[in-house]
């Protein structure tokens, strides 16, 4: 055995290969300049339309794609669907429409499999273009490390917001290609990561009435994650978690935090909650300024529960999903009163998950459930820990189903997570706990 001191070798990462997709030469030049100002990136190709993008992804196999949505010949949404169906690659889209009706386009891109969305660059005072470039590099870097999975195109079409008719839709009766995990299977699976001492077993959840198309949409999205799960160790099921964790007596609030990969995870989780789900639900999703209203509209379409944008002075309403607005921290006070306030200067992510969760820990205590979903960084871990210390049930998404196992890992490492679950198992556990005492 060698006795020489071991000096850990510095791990040099190869620059992330990025494909640019835009029909504007100006945009492509700017993006190339912005990315290649850092040695972390290498632009390996430029596509001028969606069709070129699909072909170049297949040929060049970039680590990430940076794409405009409005493209000639084949538009961005179709290109994303094709790429995610054939050669899944992390895609960051940028859109000029950050608010108003057209912002749903960007959310549709997320539904199609894009991992992040940013606003288009604008020249501004004091070199804001440089600040934009910094933010862009950070986002593309995160995206290049995201694990993405196949997204069959035909299935995605059904989750698009424009397919409005729901209860009467003839597709409603169509069986979902990927069935949810059976309750019996959940009940038989071993519980290996539940930390709380064993509690009386609850009956496994056997489903709940849902509008068929929405149920199908949920199962479709859920199916992707189930396939992506593979052989997973160190996680448990909803039934096992209910059996082994402590049971909240009267759940008033379910608080959910998410970042990269969050919109799809939220769609999976929230669309599985039934119309009679009683607790108020708060969602804090890291998202570029202006895109949150589009996210709200999209989730509202997918979910049985109404989905609204949070506003100061209002209360979190039972049976309603409230989404934190961008640019402010959403704090919950007594009687579930909402206050949206500017974040401290040094806070990196706004809205902050930690800020919301910590306020809920103080205001709601043990009558809350905290959930940290996929995302880069550590936001949410401290807040979830505070919630757990006040007696709340806390849940973290497992590694196998997380697009980025960053925030859930930070929460888990900190001891903030009571139940670590695959994404499809989280909603059944919430439903079970929301019912109150075991039957």
């Amino acid at each position: 055995m060698s006795t020489s001191p071991e000096v850990p070798a510095k791990v040099e990462r190869a620059p992330a290969a990025v494909l640019l997709v835009d029909d504007s030469q100006v945009q492509r030049r700017f993006l190339r300049g912005a990315l290649e100002a850092s040695a972390d990136f290498c632009v390996v190709g430029e596509a001028r339309n969606g069709r070129e993008a699909v072909a170049m992804v297949e040929r060049l196999r970039p680590a990430a794609v940076l794409m405009d949505l409005d493209l000639p010949i084949m538009n961005g949404i179709e290109a994303i669907e094709r790429i995610m169906a054939t050669r899944p690659t992390p895609i960051v889209v940028y859109s000029a429409f950050v608010d108003g009706e057209n912002s749903t386009n960007a959310i549709e891109a997320l539904a199609a499999g894009a991992v992040d969305v940013v606003a288009k660059p604008e020249w501004g005072e004091g070199g804001r273009l440089d600040a934009y470039a910094d933010d862009l590099r950070r986002r593309v870097k995160v995206a290049s490390r995201v694990r993405v999975i196949t997204h069959p195109r035909a299935r995605l079409k059904r989750t698009a917001p424009e397919l409005a008719p729901r209860p009467a839709d003839p597709d409603a009766a169509a069986p979902a290609p990927a069935a949810p995990v059976a309750a019996a299977e959940r009940a038989e699976a071993p519980a290996v990561s539940t930390r709380a001492p064993a509690a009386p077993a609850a009956e496994p959840d056997n489903g709940h009435p849902k509008r068929p198309l929405r149920a199908a949409a949920a199962a479709l999205i859920r199916g992707d994650f189930v396939r992506g799960t593979g052989k997973d160790a160190g996680v448990t099921t909803a039934a096992a978690a209910a059996a082994n964790g402590h049971r909240p007596a009267n759940v008033q609030v379910v608080a959910i935090g998410a970042s990269t990969g969050g919109p799809q995870a939220l769609a999976t989780l929230l669309s599985a909650l039934p119309a009679d789900f009683a607790p108020a639900v708060l969602v804090v999703q890291h998202m570029a300024e202006g895109f949150v209203p589009g996210l709200v509209a999209w989730l509202d379409h997918l979910c049985e529960l109404p989905v609204v944008l949070g506003q100061s002075g209002r209360r979190l309403a039972p049976g309603t999903v409230t989404v934190a607005p961008s640019g402010l921290n959403l704090l919950v006070h007594d009687y579930l009163r909402v206050v949206c306030e500017p974040a401290p200067e040094r806070q990196f992510h706004v809205p902050g998950i930690d800020a919301s969760f910590t306020s809920i820990a103080s205001a709601v205590g043990a009558e809350a459930i905290g959930v940290v979903l996929t995302g880069m960084g550590r936001d949410g871990a401290t807040g979830l820990k505070a919630m757990r210390e006040r007696g709340a049930v806390t849940i973290g998404q497992d590694e196998a189903t997380s697009a980025v196992y960053g925030m859930p890992a930070a929460a888990w490492t900190m001891g903030a997570v009571e139940h670590q679950l695959p994404l499809p198992e989280i909603a059944p556990l919430l439903i079970d706990f929301a019912r109150g005492e075991p039957s």
Binding site: V26, R29, F30, A37, G100, E122, W123, L129, A131, D134
Partner: protein, 112 residues
């Protein structure tokens, strides 16, 4: 990640590219707009949307904020027309945007 300012050379390249884009897109935008006003043809509407979209984004990068706003307004107006059917009123309003963009970006044609 440590950020770095865009080098002047890169900015000069952006300006050159924008001048080229204006030289290409502005006449295309004007021509499509004239056709929309005359016939309301959906092909021309789509062409106008594409040019307006690209110029709006590029102008924003180069600091031509007002031109960018007019181009974006033109794009949004036309995107809001169900089935690509453009009323006379909308076509006239879009034409006013095209005229404003033309005036504001005319200096770039000289640069090209």
């Amino acid at each position: 990640m440590a950020g770095r300012a865009l080098p002047e050379r890169a900015l000069a390249g952006l300006r050159d590219a924008f001048a080229g884009e204006v030289a290409l897109r502005l006449p295309g935008m004007q021509s499509a707009c004239a056709e929309v006003l005359a016939t309301g043809a959906t092909d021309a509407v789509q062409t106008l949307i594409t040019h307006a979209h690209t110029l709006a984004s590029s102008a924003a990068v180069l600091g031509e904020t007002l031109a960018s706003r007019h181009a974006r307004h033109c794009e949004e107006l036309l995107l809001g027309c169900a089935g690509g059917v453009v009323s006379r009123a909308v076509a006239t309003e879009a034409a006013a945007d095209v005229e404003a963009v033309s005036l504001l970006l005319a200096p770039w044609l000289v640069a090209a």
